[in-house]
Structures are given as structure tokens and as C-alpha cells.
Symmetry: C2
DNA sequence: GAGGCCATGTAACATGTTACATGATTGT
DNA sequence: ACAATCATGTAACATGTTACATGGCCTC
């Protein structure tokens, strides 16, 4: 149900239409919580039905502008305060690791090397981004920096793990 | 489509019924690729229809025993060799981080502290498991150790990140 | 007047969850 | 005979993806 909270969170800043929100999903939220058009428009209707947002204005081209309600803010607040499960419960990578004995050592090492390469590339990309952000000011970038750091540390972890894992493979 | 590959992988070892496979999902694959009964039975029927498995025997209580076919092995092999995307594309944690400015510094620090605590607990649990596994022998545990190490490093990363992030919050 | 952007939606499909339905066989 | 376990499935719902449908408005 987090698409719902993502929409509510975006609507706190200012009222917006589904179209506006879609653009925000495609830009700022693209790497954190991607969403499709159908999802956004559908969820906005459900949100309005549930009283968490209101249609505050109608504009040209059937434009509907949504505003978050008090009930919506409350829902968002309790979501933010609630603890979050750690987890991608399903990992295709680890599933492959589970079946490693079904491939040759060469195949396995190649797979892990590929993974290491990708993680290293991601790490470099994010490190460059962090360097670029360091010169910028403003409280708006604090969140971004914290999220970025997560991605950076994760890529680093995975890169190192893949290297270590390849060394464990015998033969 | 990885449920399909998980089933094929399990069937390489030996033929099995849906019931047998469910038990394997609940034990060995529980943390890597959980699956429900409905999914397993449904996918097995689809797999048989696609010719990737055969019903090799029928037993008491309508038991159907499935065996992987040559085509099934081929499908499994190419899946194992193919590169895997890095990714949980959606992260509820990072979504909350994105909206951190909507909560008070106290709430934010509490949320991050909770996360740190959970990651630390997971880390300890896995470290104990690794220690227990160290005394065991056999090539069957190599995979398990590699997967375990991933979880361990991830928990460590998250624990440290949460501590660092909490320190970034002002006020 | 034509092309591009604004704007909202529906339909079909894939995957996964939860709950329910049904019954056979085995061991005590 | 009764309970536990074996065994397979269906139905309803939630979430997400892809493709398609429809049309208004603005600028050149």
C-alpha cells in the first residue's frame, strides 16, 4: 500500500493533478518507488473515495487537482512513524546462488564477475553523483544525500561480496 | 518468472510432488524465494503444459510426481547463465527517507534507531548461524555459506548506515 | 491545421496472498 | 474410529505491467 503513501507525501507540498504526480514519479521517485500511469490515476480515485484527498479544482482538459485532507495527513503521519520491515523477500541473485552447484565453476565465476562489474559501475556512478551534490546547499538535499548513501553502501557491499564469493568457488 | 526456475532447480535433484516441493519452499527456500501452495500447484501445471516437466508417476491420494525434462534443464541452464538485474526496485525504507522532512527530527531518529536495532539483531542471528555452520563439512554447504554471507554483509551495511543517517539529522 | 503536450482512463495479463474446499490414506 | 498428515486444487483480492483509447488545448 505504499503507492498510496508516496502520493500523499507528494501532495503535502502542493496540490497536484495525476499528470503532475506522474512526472514526479518519473523524475524524483523513479529509483525509489516507480509507478505507472494506470496505477497513479487508479490510486488517486481510490484515495478520493477513501477521503484521504479531495478534488480541489477542475481545470481544462478534464484536469482534476487533488489536495490532501486532514485524514490523509494523519494516515501519512502514522505510516512515517511506523517501523518498516527490512526486506526484499525474494532475491533472484540468492536463488541462483542456491542452485550454484548445478552450473560449472566457470559459469559461476562468470556470473559473479558480471555482478561484481555491475555493482562496481553503480558504485562509481553514485559516488560521482555524491561528489556533484557536495557543493550544493539547502535542506532539501539532506534526504537525497541519505538515500544516496544507502545506494552507495549497498553497491559497495555487493561488489565486495561478489569478489569474495568468486574466490570461494573451487575447481 | 523465477518461481518457475526455483521449481526446476529443485526437481534436478530428484522427482517430487507439489506437496514435496512445498515443504522445500517452506524450509530451504523460505528466506530466498517464499511461495504459497496455490502458486506451486498452479505453476507445476503450467510447467507440465509447457513441456518443462513431465508427470512421471501417479501415487495414492491423487499424488502426481513431476520429473524435469531435457527442455526444462535447458531452460534452467540458460536462466542460471543469464545476468541478473541488481535490485529491489521499490524500497519502503527509502521512500520514507524521501519524506523525512515531513516528520520531526525526533520521529526520524526514532525510526532510524529502530531500523539500526533490527539490522543489528539480524546481523547477530546470522553471525551465530555462520559460526554454527563453520564446523560442518561438505560441498552442499558452500552455497549456503555464500548466501548467508550476503545476508550478513547486508545487515551490517544497513546497521551502519542507519547509525550514520541518524547522525545527519539536525535539531 | 498540425504536431506536441496535457490529461485521464480502460483492458488484459502476470504474480502473489489469503481463505476456503475436498478428499484419501495411514497410524494408533 | 479418529486424528494427523498427505495431496491437490479454486476463488477472491491486491498490486503491478503493458498496451490501447480518447480527446482537449496551445503554439507555430
Amino acid at each position: 500500500m505504499s503507492l498510496r503513501h508516496a502520493l500523499l507525501g507528494l501532495l503535502v507540498d502542493r496540490p497536484a493533478s495525476g499528470y503532475d504526480l506522474m512526472k514526479l514519479f518519473d523524475t524524483s521517485l523513479a529509483h525509489v518507488w516507480p509507478a505507472t500511469q494506470s496505477q497513479v490515476y487508479g490510486e488517486l480515485n481510490r484515495l478520493a473515495e477513501a477521503g484521504l484527498v479531495d478534488v480541489s479544482a477542475e481545470g481544462p482538459r478534464r484536469r482534476k487537482e487533488y489536495t490532501i485532507t486532514g485524514q490523509g495527513r494523519q494516515e501519512l503521519g502514522s505510516w512515517l512513524a511506523a517501523p518498516t520491515q527490512r526486506q526484499p523477500r525474494r532475491s533472484e541473485l540468492l536463488l541462483k546462488v542456491f542452485f550454484l552447484h548445478l552450473a560449472t565453476p566457470e559459469q559461476t565465476r562468470a556470473m559473479l564477475a558480471e555482478r561484481e562489474k555491475r555493482a562496481a559501475a553503480d558504485h562509481e556512478r553514485l559516488a560521482a553523483l555524491r561528489a556533484a551534490l557536495e557543493s550544493e546547499e539547502g535542506p532539501l538535499t539532506v534526504n537525497g544525500r541519505i538515500a544516496l548513501e544507502y545506494g552507495l553502501r549497498w553497491a559497495e557491499m555487493e561488489r565486495d561480496w561478489a569478489g569474495w564469493a568468486a574466490a570461494q568457488i573451487e575447481g
